[in-house]
Symmetry: C2
Subunit: 220 residues, 2 copies
């Protein structure tokens, strides 16, 4: 009875689990103690059957005829995602976006804590955000090593993102969240998750325009 579950959870499911976790926390704050899959699915914007399948990946935790215990489910998802252990993150590029990220309280409650903020501009160095002072780029490697940070966030201009990425990877960071509008090249064993705001907007715009034209198609 060592490994009752397959150990592999689809990436799409993981992303949804994080959403469920958010919704469950909100429900718990509202005083709810149990939820049905239908209700939770509606709150998360997904299909009820899919939600149950997602939850089945982490073993049975619901009660038939009743639903899920909000607190217990939250606890279990939190454990599976590893959100209970605090993860050290470093953030490079303290512009408006970097400041927003450093300031965002939502990270702390999800198990992420910034242990270093870095910027190349001397005018930014020394500035305090949250309860952390911005440090010069020269301190990057030492901080990563000292804090054993496993996650790096890149919020720099595009033209320096690759070299920042190289330094992070060389320092031992294995996971990188990249907000710069470039595709990063990384060595084997490091994964990058790109978040490109222009891409998001363009997809959105395209879907909107595609939804608008079918009238023309009918005329053909």
């Amino acid at each position: 009875m060592i490994q009752p579950r397959p150990r592999t959870i689809p990436e799409a499911t993981v992303a949804r689990l994080a959403v469920y976790l958010r919704v469950l926390t909100s429900l718990a704050d509202g005083g709810r103690t149990t939820v049905s899959s239908g209700e939770l699915a509606s709150a998360a914007g997904v299909n009820p059957a899919g939600l149950r399948k997602d939850l089945s990946h982490l073993g049975s935790c619901g009660v038939r005829g009743v639903g899920y215990d909000v607190r217990a489910l939250r606890e279990r998802i939190s454990r599976v995602l590893g959100a209970e252990r605090s993860r050290a993150c470093v953030l490079v590029g303290i512009g408006n976006l970097g400041t927003a990220l450093a300031d965002y309280a939502g990270f702390g409650s999800r198990g992420f804590r910034f242990v270093g903020l870095f910027d190349a501009s001397p005018s930014r160095v020394g500035q305090v955000i949250g309860n952390l002072a911005v440090r010069p780029m020269t301190d990057l490697e030492a901080t990563v090593t000292a804090t054993d940070a496993s996650i790096g966030v890149i919020a720099t201009p595009a033209d320096v993102a690759q070299q920042v990425c190289d330094r992070l990877a060389a320092a031992g960071v294995r996971s990188i969240l990249n907000f710069a509008p470039v595709t990063l090249a990384v060595p084997e064993g490091v994964d990058v998750r790109p978040v490109d705001l222009s891409v998001e907007l363009q997809v959105l715009a395209f879907l909107g325009q595609q939804r608008a034209v079918p009238a023309e198609e009918v005329t053909a």
Copy 2:
């Protein structure tokens, strides 16, 4: 010769097309005139065959034995995505994140222009970002109507995001990019694209942790 192509492009392909567009622009700026699929795929971080299939959705545009003409391909993708026409966007919530979005020059070059910045806080109203002044929330509907804005960006705190969303939808906005960590409910015909930074971080952290444990699995 009315509709030589199927008219429907998979959403995943659209997202990648936006990336190709970015890479092509970068290549054009570097003076390149032609690229092979392999080269472009490597620069975009995807499989060469997949890239060719993606490109095939918009008709043949490459030359066999040579590759793709950088400028022509860029032009065609740009046209398909509708990036040539300027789209009016409104942005609600001018905190650090909102300021970062309003300031980001990359949107303009991709066919998006902000026509209104809104914030509930009187202290923010009047502040000028880019070349636009922040306006009070009361002006929201009038601005959307007057500019025929089709895209709304929500960068507000979570607790007001839903009501902002409702107002945008009621005013005629059909596409919404949501940075607030909540799942928005929208009427039929409106689509929302959520960008939740906590979710991104959690997925990244989970993949990293999942990659770290298989050693334990070997012992079993």
